[in-house]
């Protein structure tokens, strides 16, 4: 089997990007990743895209290929919410490992902030089941809040511990000139921000941003002459348990347990081997539940670790070193791709001002829906 490597990575500016469109962000991200790899559009034989809220096309990969003037040998678009970016990396790796493609461009991006005039929250609410959730005014924060309440009840997690996660993300974002939100916050700021759905405050929730991000996944034997040494895709895995929170088999254990076990197992690694993690953080509780379900911490210990600073750069398990969805930015499917790009930068030693010293192994994780669909990707330094 051929080996898969990430040969290019790029993320656009994030925030309120007036004048940007879904396709212009795809273009900047895609061309940026190709330039980073030292490849031209004509070198790309595979194209993978996600989905867009502002341009809800049925066939986004075809739309983008046409827009940019690309005629790939393989194209597909995947719509699986926040897990999509990691899934696309897994699919791209499978394509090059199986020999169908040599260079797969994986592109995400959306102008979800400026392009939706404040309607993103309402659009996201339609994620809920039309008959059995939407009539009750369920929102995505409310669904995650139901998880948080259960988690607090069973494992003694506190609001202060969740707030510490938000604070750590903001500290990391302050080290990253590209981040959407850089102004410092304290645990008290999080606790005193208004409730969205108890126990989650405004500052427990991710941002809504414009932005785009892309990577190039190449077959190792096609990557030898490229601009930068490739970052190895060492193992990938998925886990799926439900779509709607009303039907979730557990509110404390999720598909990330299987996805991480499979990804680490295929890489021949265990959680303690990983130097840096970039894990989906749509809400503070999302990250806490995933860290414990995946085995990075025992039950009830991730919140304690966050409060003790163990998730900071320089801590025991540096986490979301770019600032995450909570403070770097969240642009739909690109939100998950920011985690992938950050892992690549960490493993290349390019994360100026926020570099985890000696980072050789990273785990990236995405979650879609209400902790419904999961994908983990283990990456290794060249």
């Amino acid at each position: 089997m051929k080996k898969a490597v990430i040969t290019g990575a790029y993320s656009t500016r994030v925030g309120d990007l007036q004048g940007a469109t879904c396709m212009s962000l795809h273009t900047e991200a895609g061309l940026g990743a190709l330039a980073d790899a030292g490849l031209a559009v004509a070198d790309v034989d595979g194209l993978l895209c996600a989905y867009s809220f502002t341009e809800p096309h049925l066939m986004l990969a075809s739309v983008f290929a046409e827009y940019i003037g690309m005629q790939p040998a393989y194209a597909s678009a995947v719509s699986m919410g926040g897990v999509t970016a990691c899934m696309l990396v897994m699919q791209a790796a499978a394509l090059v490992e199986a020999g169908y493609c040599r260079h797969v461009l994986v592109v995400t991006g959306d102008n979800r902030l400026s392009g939706m005039r404040g309607n993103a929250v309402q659009a996201l609410a339609e994620v809920g089941n039309q008959q059995y959730e939407q009539p009750y005014g369920m929102t995505i924060p409310a669904a995650y809040a139901l998880v948080a309440q259960r988690y607090m009840s069973e494992f003694g997690v506190t609001s202060e511990q969740l707030a510490a996660i938000a604070v750590t993300h903001r500290e990391h974002a302050a080290l990253n000139p590209k981040a959407h939100m850089k102004s410092p916050i304290t645990v008290d700021d999080v606790m005193n921000s208004r409730f969205i759905a108890t126990p989650l405050h405004l500052l427990d929730c991710c941002l809504i941003s414009d932005g785009g991000a892309a990577v190039v996944v190449s077959a190792a034997d096609a990557a030898a002459d490229l601009r930068r040494p490739g970052v190895h895709v060492l193992g990938t895995g998925q886990g799926h348990t439900h779509e709607y929170i009303v039907a979730a088999p557990s509110l404390t254990d999720f598909g990330c347990k299987r996805s991480a076990a499979d990804a680490l197992g295929r890489a021949g690694l265990k959680p303690a081997d990983i130097d840096v993690v970039e894990i989906y953080d749509s809400f503070t509780i999302t990250l806490l539940a995933e860290l414990e379900s995946m085995g990075f911490f025992q039950r009830g210990e991730a919140g304690v670790a966050a409060a003790a600073g163990e998730l900071k750069i320089g801590g025991k398990l540096p986490c979301n070193t770019h600032g995450g969805l909570l403070s770097y930015g969240h642009s739909g499917a690109a939100g998950g791709m920011f985690h992938v790009v950050e892992a690549v930068e960490q493993l290349r030693g390019d994360a100026v001002g926020r570099q985890v010293e000696g980072a050789e192994l990273a785990l990236v994780h995405g979650d879609g829906g209400i902790l419904s669909a999961h994908c983990s990707v283990v990456l290794g330094r060249a």
Partner: protein, 129 residues
């Protein structure tokens, strides 16, 4: 703007017809004996297709609950804050509802009541039972 009204389909029509008659119907699999909610054409536990409709006694306990301060749309703005709960019914299935008649917490006993909305009747819960 009106709150969302459920749109029944062939899987769910017996459930919503039951609600209109103030009767909480749920499915049980004749093969494995387990209850399920929401209604489907297949048992999600064993993939059996032989499902029977039963009527719930309408009593259960709150499995988790949150108080929502920011609703999904203008239709919910006037009623915030409101509680959204996952309720474990005594017959062994779970459903979502708003809590009426007080504030629930995890473990609170509740009973089903009905709200008329548009051309449908939707189940809710109130504290007690």
């Amino acid at each position: 703007m009106e709150k969302p009204v459920p749109r029944p389909n062939a899987d769910s029509a017996p459930f919503w017809e039951g609600c209109a008659a103030h009767e909480f119907r749920f499915q049980r699999c004749r093969d494995c004996g387990k209850a399920q909610f929401y209604p489907r054409a297949v048992c999600s536990h064993c993939q059996g297709r032989d499902l029977e409709w039963l009527v719930s006694a309408g009593k259960g306990a709150v499995y988790s609950v949150t108080t929502v301060y920011r609703g999904p749309s203008a239709a919910f703005k006037d009623v915030t804050p409101y509680q959204v709960a996952l309720v474990d019914m005594d017959e062994g299935f779970r459903f979502m509802a708003n809590v009426r008649g007080g504030e629930a917490e995890i473990g609170t006993r509740v009973r089903v009541i009905y709200e008329e909305r548009g051309d449908q009747t939707i189940p809710q819960v109130e504290i007690g039972g």
